[in-house]
């Protein structure tokens, strides 16, 4: 096992990783920006280093300063968390070349799965179904031919994309040229890579993803699925649950088997997630692989009793994954609500400021992963997530009831949050019935606010 680990991240995930390390008897080094001297992860770590001014590009993405901090403190390994440098194959290589174990998959697997086009190709070769797609679009003519064949509507996506940037839905051929131009421009601005491709747009699909764990000796298991169909406009997840409601057991088994096959095809190690779109006819398609721990990992941990972050550290330190597939069994149902500092009525605009009183829920079956506390600052420079509330209970209706109770207990003063929106979602008939899909929330928000309690 490692002696000391540097956590190259901030917020709740830095806190989560520090906790896992401490439970394993591993000392921790936090990094922080000038804006986060009093952050919880800085307080909880054994050592902490300021690596730059507030903007993330100059602090949490400042590779020379992060590596220098790792050298000075003499750590064995670096955990990247999610976001920031977590899916940067170059960073994984730099870690290795400086003698630090990167707590995540091999750099080659990150590079392979990080490029959506190469990822899809590899999955197709492995026999995992993928959404019909065009490959990189060179000319508008080529785009037109593909769309005519696949049928509208289509989705234009950035090759280097993520988080909904560089995405455009096109419903008919006359809008195709303008859609391509807009997506290319957005992709160029966001990722310095203007290449785009086109996919057939599935109507009313669900987002269901499968957690995988793999050690460095070729043992791969899946840890069940998560339904992440409740998404904000812009394809950002807001609420996740496991197991996926109303999912045919046979389809579930096929999804999980496909995920294991996909992880093997990518020569994967450590924790990862295969994202699929599941159409109403139960056809499913590989979308992308996230080569890191995910925000919504506690849902899986709660249902399967497997500590994914601890396993990340153990696997990276060279341990064998001792969990057998037949021992992976779900118990009950878990739901996670992301509590963001956002003005929901104002297009989910992120808000920042000093928090007043913060009262977070507790009691049976409630887990809260957070970095906030009463009086803490919410800086404007980073993502707007404040906390994740996870409710687990014996079945879905009781987990929903437990989550509603927890949200009712939650008090966060000083900034607008998504708490009330979650209450509305949980009280809505389609959610209770488990009949939601990726664009459901966007449509629901456009309805008059008559729904809910």
């Amino acid at each position: 096992m490692f002696d000391k680990v540097l956590i190259a991240n901030r917020g709740e995930i830095a806190v989560r990783v520090i906790r896992a390390c401490r439970e394993l008897g591993v000392r921790t080094v936090a990094i922080f920006s000038d804006a986060e001297r009093d952050a919880l992860h800085v307080r909880l770590a054994d050592e902490a280093f300021c690596v730059g001014p507030p903007p993330a590009a100059r602090s949490y993405l400042n590779v020379p300063n992060i590596i220098s901090a790792a050298e000075i403190t003499g750590v064995d390994a670096i955990h990247p968390g999610y976001g920031f440098l977590s899916e940067n194959a170059g960073f994984a290589e730099i870690c290795a070349s400086h003698g630090f174990k990167f707590i995540g998959p091999p750099a080659a697997a990150i590079a392979l799965m990080g490029d959506k086009a190469s990822a899809k190709r590899r999955m197709q070769e492995a026999g995992v179904p993928v959404v019909p797609g065009s490959g990189i679009i060179e000319t508008d003519e080529q785009a037109k031919r593909f769309c005519a064949e696949a049928g509208y509507p289509v989705l234009i996506k950035a090759t280097a994309g993520g988080g909904g940037k560089g995405m455009r839905i096109v419903g008919r051929e006359t809008d195709l040229g303008a859609g391509l131009a807009a997506a290319r421009g957005e992709a160029q601005a966001a990722f310095a890579d203007g290449r785009v491709y086109i996919e057939k747009l599935l109507e009313h699909p669900r987002h269901i993803e499968v957690q995988v764990l793999a050690d460095e000796f070729g043992h791969v298991i899946h840890v069940g699925e998560r339904d992440c169909s409740i998404q904000k406009p812009g394809h950002q997840k807001l609420l996740e649950e496991s197991p996926a409601p109303n999912l045919d057991p046979e389809v579930r088994a096929q999804l999980c088997a496909a995920a294991v096959k996909a992880a093997r095809a990518a020569d994967y190690a450590n924790a990862g997630t295969l994202e699929f779109l599941v159409a109403p006819d139960n056809q499913f398609y590989f979308m992308e692989m996230n080569t890191r721990i995910q925000v919504e990992h506690p849902v899986t941990e709660s249902v399967y009793g497997i500590d994914l972050v601890r396993w990340q550290v153990r696997i990276a330190s060279g341990e064998r994954l001792t969990v057998r597939q037949e021992d992976v069994r779900p118990r009950g149902h878990a739901i996670e609500c992301r509590i963001n500092a956002e003005d929901v009525d104002n297009g989910f605009r992120p808000v920042s400021g000093k928090l007043g009183t913060v009262l977070l829920p507790g009691g049976p079956g409630i887990r809260v992963d957070t970095h906030i506390y009463s009086g803490a600052e919410v800086p404007p420079f980073y993502d707007s997530m404040l906390a994740k509330i996870i409710a687990v209970d014996r079945d879905r209706p009781s987990a929903i009831a437990r989550m509603r109770r927890a949200l009712d207990e939650t008090e966060i003063h000083g900034v607008a949050t998504t708490v009330a929106l979650h209450e509305r979602i949980l009280a809505s008939e389609p959610f209770e019935a488990g009949h939601t899909y990726v664009t459901w929330l966007r449509e629901y928000l456009l309805q008059p606010a008559a729904v809910g309690g």
Binding site: P53, I72, H98
Partner: protein
């Protein structure tokens, strides 16, 4: 909070609009900075904001400088006494600090682009430069110390060095329409 707001006495409508729309947000931003005085000139007018400050007891310069360092690490910390401005030269990379042996000692005048020390990071030595003529007040980081971003290394007094040209904020002038 600002104690007084000096306008230029104009009473026309555009100036009062300027005051009502622009001064309040400016004053709020100013209040959150460590600056003691702020002058702003725009095409609409000029204002000077001055903070009410509890007058500190006069102290010897290095003591004042050290006291200033205890708070947040600001790059520029003006004091209210006798027009002195102590400037903190801080680390902009994470690494191991070492002063340049015998380059300068406290009280010494330092030239335009003098290298005062180095920060070694990833086997590269990053020079710590004076950033303009100044008088060295104190070295506050120790030889061999691991420094993080923003860590104060030297306190210098730029006021005693040959004066840099005044910023073009003066004189206050009437608003232009």
């Amino acid at each position: 909070m600002p104690e007084n707001i000096d306008g230029n006495g104009s009473t026309d409508a555009s100036f009062s609009r300027f005051v009502s729309e622009r001064v309040a947000p400016l004053a709020k931003a100013f209040a959150s900075t460590p600056l003691a005085e702020l002058r702003v000139r725009t095409s609409e007018g000029s204002i000077r904001l001055v903070k009410a400050v509890d007058a500190p007891a006069p102290e010897r310069a290095p003591a004042v400088a050290k006291a200033l360092l205890r708070g947040s690490k600001q790059h520029l910390m003006p004091t209210v006494e006798s027009g002195h401005q102590y400037d903190v030269i801080s680390a902009d990379v994470v690494g191991i600090f070492s002063p340049v042996a015998g380059a300068s000692s406290a009280g010494e005048r330092v030239g335009e682009d003098t290298v005062l020390g180095y920060i070694e990071a990833l086997k590269l030595k990053h020079p710590v430069r004076s950033g303009g003529p100044c008088v060295l007040i104190a070295q506050v980081a120790e030889d061999g110390q691991a420094v993080d971003f923003g860590e104060p290394l030297f306190v210098v007094d730029r006021a005693e060095a040959p004066k840099a040209p005044e910023p073009i904020l003066e004189p206050l002038e009437p608003p232009r329409l």
